[in-house]
């Protein structure tokens, strides 16, 4: 790993000031960042890494005024184990429990999980071996290379890498908001395709909290993940669903951003969930898929994940 300065922040203001120089990067759990630094995958290397975890009061789970509030630095393991989240915001607890490994869940944070960089073996090859579109280059190497785990819903900005977060679709399905030091962003609108980021955050903007409204009465939620290894892998496809009057269905690892399956939501809206309805919703969810040759299997898996998640939430 190349040398850098490490600063333990004591306030969000201090972090904002540090980030403004464009040479500082933020660390919380560090489970994604450390890998990118060790492997030197990006064009630029930070001169300073500033630590969010030392800012007081960033790690909490509480319910206030019918809203679940989770501090940005709250560990995924704590979210997965919280009885209230398991009961009322089930999809989020399930998603947090399926992130990576127990050790990573103990270190990784909710903010880090949604703000992590995308997974693409070209993007992630050490020493910036492939200077791809997401790094400011001219080529998406995956487009003509091995893209078996890439997008089935086309490219964004010429990139077909997928967003790998497990908690992101759960937050979108649960209608969550991402709170930063300067605004509230609907989770659905939080994700973007940048060079090299995955969010709409400004370079000196800091996530401070996640807020999730209590699910409507009678609504249930569920999260399902399909991965090669059960113990550690990023999803090939995952899916979160919240049923109820205004159902929400969100897939991830199928596109450069989490993919809200509006057509699937329309199928189940106002209907009693059955195997047949769930299957129709699965088919609707992938109606707009444009898979590459190597990713056709992901369409089938996405279809099934939607079906099974709907049934699990019914």
């Amino acid at each position: 790993m190349r040398p850098f300065n490490h600063t333990n922040a004591t306030s969000i203001a201090e972090i904002k000031t540090a980030l403004a120089d464009g040479k500082t990067t933020l660390i919380a759990g560090g489970t994604d960042l450390v890998g990118t630094l060790k492997d030197n995958i990006l064009r630029d290397y930070p001169s300073t890494v500033i630590n969010l975890k030392t800012v007081p009061g960033m790690d909490y789970i509480k319910e206030e005024g019918g809203v679940l509030k989770i501090g940005a630095a709250t560990h995924l393991a704590d979210i997965a184990a919280d009885p209230n989240i398991q009961k009322k915001y089930t999809a989020l607890a399930q998603a947090a429990s399926r992130v990576a490994t127990p050790h990573i869940r103990d270190m990784g944070t909710i903010a880090g999980n949604i703000a992590q960089l995308h997974r693409c073996w070209y993007f992630r090859k050490p020493e910036n071996r492939f200077d791809c579109k997401r790094k400011g280059g001219n080529t998406c190497f995956a487009m003509t290379g091995d893209n078996r785990y890439h997008s089935i819903f086309g490219a964004v900005g010429g990139c077909i890498a997928v967003h790998p977060s497990d908690t992101a679709p759960a937050l979108i399905a649960l209608n969550a908001k991402v709170v930063t030091d300067r605004r509230q962003i609907e989770a659905e609108n939080f994700f973007d395709v940048k060079q090299p980021g995955n969010t709409v955050l400004e370079k000196d903007e800091v996530i401070t909290e996640i807020q999730i409204p209590a699910p409507p009465k009678g609504a249930k939620s569920a999260f399902i993940k399909f991965a090669l290894r059960k113990s550690i892998d990023f999803p090939i496809v995952n899916c979160a669903v919240m049923t109820g009057k205004n159902p929400r269905v969100c897939l991830n690892a199928v596109a450069p951003k989490p993919y809200r399956a509006i057509k699937a939501e329309e199928v189940i809206k106002g209907k009693k969930i059955s195997e047949k309805i769930a299957e129709e919703a699965g088919t609707a969810a992938v109606a707009d898929a444009r898979p590459l040759n190597a990713t056709k299997f992901k369409v089938q898996i996405a279809r099934v994940m939607v079906k099974r998640a709907i049934l699990a939430a019914s």
């Binding site: 190349r2 040398p3 290379g145 399909f226």
Partner: protein, 791 residues
């Protein structure tokens, strides 16, 4: 066969050998993280070194300008391929054979290969920085990472002329004669036995099938590397001595001594642990170059590979097309095996290619008409240093044949195997193999084996059920001589060994044998590693535990004879007590006074009177002299050396899978293993080795894959996320039963287990039984769904 040649080979009662969970000091050190490996050595004033590694799959460096890099503070030295010291430092070109060649050249034949330069600096970070500042003029050459493409006549030839010969005998014998000359990237090896055409004419049915054996990474867990420094000490004679940690080669300190032209006794190593490696005895450049760098720098130098640098092959890729003729009974009459195998980069071993042609499974059958043609394709995929757990690597071709014949005839594959397996003595021996029959009976009971036809069973949750079965020999396969030494020092028995310890517990198993033979407890034996000792406990494959155990059994009994003789001698002539002035207290009279050594025995840590074991004296008191015994030898050669044409100890593996036809997900419900290793030496090791091989089998059949970018030849899956080795949380349950027929001819009738249970198609055959489609390993969901017509 049995251990008829060795002393106590027919022993009936065991107190120590075969016991589980004996607390070994060495194994405790390894399991507890106390043990130090090469990368763990940090010494004062130490420098670091890093190789330049090729970003290209096939390239040549035309020139390197080091000027900018040398200006970086902390850079001590940069050696390039043009440096005379580098040119003159020669390493073995091919594992165990092949010409010597310079340790670093300007040619890179795979992405990540050490090439062109090595930097010595005050830290690894500075090394990295300096490597980035090298001005390198590359000549990027065409590459081959798809061996089917590389085999084509119009494929660019990737290797300079004068390739390694593929048609001469290698260190283990290989290949056939009269092969066509190499053409392009392809060498040829043809081995024929019997009359294949006649065999096909004799057949009632002929089937043909393809199978793709996947490449597999051993993925060595301990980062490989070394630390070296030179020192002067007149105690060790004139001239400098080398201290090098982390080499741990079977031949060390010989390898380092030869390379650096110093006597072996002037090479010192403390670390004899090199971590888990499966039959990969190849030394990496990072283990060999540090003495040179340390000499140049005048300070200790450490050079360690990163995890990215450790994706060498433990199994190379092979495409096979098999044609089998068989009778209505299921008896195979002819086998025609055409293979296209990956030769890997230059210097790769012949295991997995020509070696397998003489080493494979076909000769365990009654069929004597076997034709094997192999095209061996040079590639830029990677290097196979020696062998892998899966060896012999074409065993799965016969496994699939058995399943396909069974399907064709509507029979249980176990019965097809039974029909085809020849008897113990030869391919024409009509008798059953007792070990095989015992394994089958136990396995069927353990797994509640009820065979069903392809697609014939669904589980309650709707998934499709599949099952499969496989047999193999329980082998040992070396003929090396073991030079053992046991010492009785101050009443304690010591076993010293030069190691190395490669993630195994051979020393513990050896100590168990010594304890057994000397009537001692296991913890009474002291094991010590010292690179200047002569005894190395392993011999390739299971010779480590069973054949070296046999030699130590002999040695222990030589020592025992000396101990009993000395007990009588000391009883008859007790030494004066109390120092030079003597003592007023008379020593207690020994009960052995006037007895003969043959009237005594060693039981429970004491020397006792055979006819009256109640009369005994603890060893420490009965013998105050220091004694040592040596033995050089080995047990009779294993039947494995008959390469399948004779059979003694066998094993059977079964597998049950559930296939989710909607997602293509395969779950291994359980493995079942019944292994007859003849005699269990160290039960814990045997159980864990079986777990390990089934873990290997699971990984290569469900998850693990070398994925290359076809345009650049770059490995895309050389990290722990993308190269998907299962974790312990993914590992399927393994039911096992261990048999002891005592049919092997190493210690107490043992053979071994290594190189026998790992496989590439047991799970694949079970998937076939579930869905009726062949899926090449690894059977990832994309392939399963494609086979099912859903992708």
């Amino acid at each position: 066969m049995a251990d008829l040649a060795g002393v106590n080979g027919q022993r009936e009662k065991f107190r120590v050998v075969g016991m589980p969970n004996l607390p070994g000091r060495l194994s405790y050190a390894m399991a507890a993280g106390i043990a130090k490996y090469g990368a763990d050595y940090i010494v004062p004033d130490m420098l670091h070194a890093k190789f330049l590694r090729s970003p290209y799959a096939n390239a040549r460096i035309e020139s390197i300008d080091t000027a900018r890099a040398r200006k970086i503070p902390g850079v001590i030295d940069i050696l390039t391929f043009e440096d005379e010291d580098i040119k003159n430092l020669l390493e073995q070109g091919e594992m165990m054979s092949g010409p010597l060649k310079s340790i670093l050249t300007n040619r890179a034949d795979q992405e990540g290969a050490e090439v062109g330069a090595i930097v010595i600096a005050e830290s690894e970070d500075i090394c990295d920085k300096a490597l980035r500042q090298l001005d390198i003029k590359w000549d990027i050459l065409p590459h081959v990472v798809d061996i089917l493409e590389g085999r084509r006549a119009d494929s660019p030839v990737i290797r300079p002329p004068a390739p390694k010969s593929q048609d001469t005998a290698g260190p283990f014998g290989m290949g056939g004669g009269n092969n066509p000359p190499k053409k392009g990237n392809v060498s040829y090896s043809n081995v024929n036995a019997g009359d294949v055409e006649a065999g096909f004419k004799e057949a009632d049915h002929i089937i043909e099938y393809d199978l793709n054996m996947p490449a597999f990474s051993g993925h060595i867990p301990n980062p490989i590397g070394s630390v070296a420094w030179w020192f002067q000490n007149t105690y060790h004679g004139e001239g400098l001595n080398i201290h090098v940690e982390g080499v741990g080669s079977p031949n060390d300190p010989g390898t380092i001594a030869n390379m650096y032209k110093v006597p072996p006794e002037k090479v010192f190593q403390e670390c004899m642990l090199i971590g888990g490696k499966y039959c990969d005895w190849g030394l990496r450049k990072s283990q060999l170059i540090t003495p040179l760098l340390a000499k140049r720098a005048g300070r200790p130098v450490r050079c360690v590979n990163s995890r990215y640098d450790q994706y060498d092959f433990n199994l190379n890729q092979r495409f096979m097309h098999i044609k089998i003729g068989f009778k209505k009974s299921g008896l195979i009459t002819a086998i025609d095996d055409f293979s296209i195998a990956d030769s890997g980069v230059e210097g790769s071993s012949i295991f997995g290619t020509t070696m397998d042609q003489n080493y494979g499974p076909y000769f365990t059958t009654r069929c004597q008409n076997v034709k094997q043609n192999m095209d061996i394709v040079d590639s830029n995929r990677g290097k196979m240093y020696l062998s892998g757990q899966h060896n012999p690597m074409n065993w799965d071709s016969i496994t699939l044949a058995i399943h396909l014949i069974a399907e064709k005839l509507g029979k249980d594959p176990v019965e097809i195997a039974r029909i085809n397996l020849h008897g113990p003595e030869s391919q024409t021996d009509p008798n059953p193999v007792p070990s095989f029959e015992a394994c089958i009976a136990a396995a069927k009971k353990m797994m509640d084996w009820k065979w069903h036809n392809t697609g014939g069973k669904r589980l309650k949750d709707g998934r499709m059920h599949g099952a499969s079965f496989r047999y193999q020999q329980c082998p040992r396969h070396s003929g090396m001589i073991f030079n053992c030494k046991l010492e009785l020092k101050n009443g304690v028995v010591h076993l010293d060994s030069k190691g190395p310890v490669v993630g195994n517990y051979i020393m513990e198993a050896n100590m168990m044998v010594v304890a057994e033979e000397l009537g001692l407890n296991y913890e009474d034996i002291r094991g010590r590693l010292d690179s200047h000792e002569t005894y190395k406990p392993w011999g390739g494959g299971s010779d480590g535990t069973t054949a070296s155990g046999w030699a130590l059994k002999e040695c222990a009994n030589i020592l025992k004879k000396q101990i009993l003789e000395k007990a009588v001698e000391e009883a008859n002539t007790p030494s004066p007590q109390g120092g030079v002035m003597g003592s007023k207290t008379k020593p207690a009279a020994s009960p052995f006074k006037g007895m003969k050594p043959e009237e005594l025995d060693m039981v429970d840590g004491k020397i006792v009177v055979k006819n009256n074991p109640g009369i005994g004296v603890p060893l420490k008191e009965a013998v105050r002299s220091n004694l040592f015994a040596t033995y050089s030898g080995r047990p009779p050669l294993s039947l494995w050396n008959e390469r399948g044409k004779k059979l003694d100890t066998m094993n059977v593996a079964m597998c049950e899978v559930a296939v989710d036809a909607e997602t293509g997900e395969v779950e291994i419900i359980r493995f079942g293993v019944v292994a007859d290793t003849g005699k269990i030496m160290r039960r814990t090791s045997l159980e864990s080795q079986i777990e390990q091989v089934m873990f290997f089998s699971e990984g290569c059949q469900l998850y693990e894959d070398y994925i290359y970018d076809s345009k650049t030849g770059v490995k895309l899956s050389a990290n722990m996320f993308e190269y998907k080795k299962p974790t312990i949380l993914d590992h399927a349950p393994v039911a096992m039963e261990l048999l002891e027929t005592r049919a092997g001819n190493a210690a107490y009738g043992s053979n071994g287990i290594s190189h026998s249970l790992a496989n590439t198609h047991l799970v694949i055959a079970a998937i076939y039984n579930a869905i009726g489609k062949w899926v090449d390993p690894p059977a990832t969901p994309d392939k399963v769904l494609k086979a099912l017509g859903k992708a």
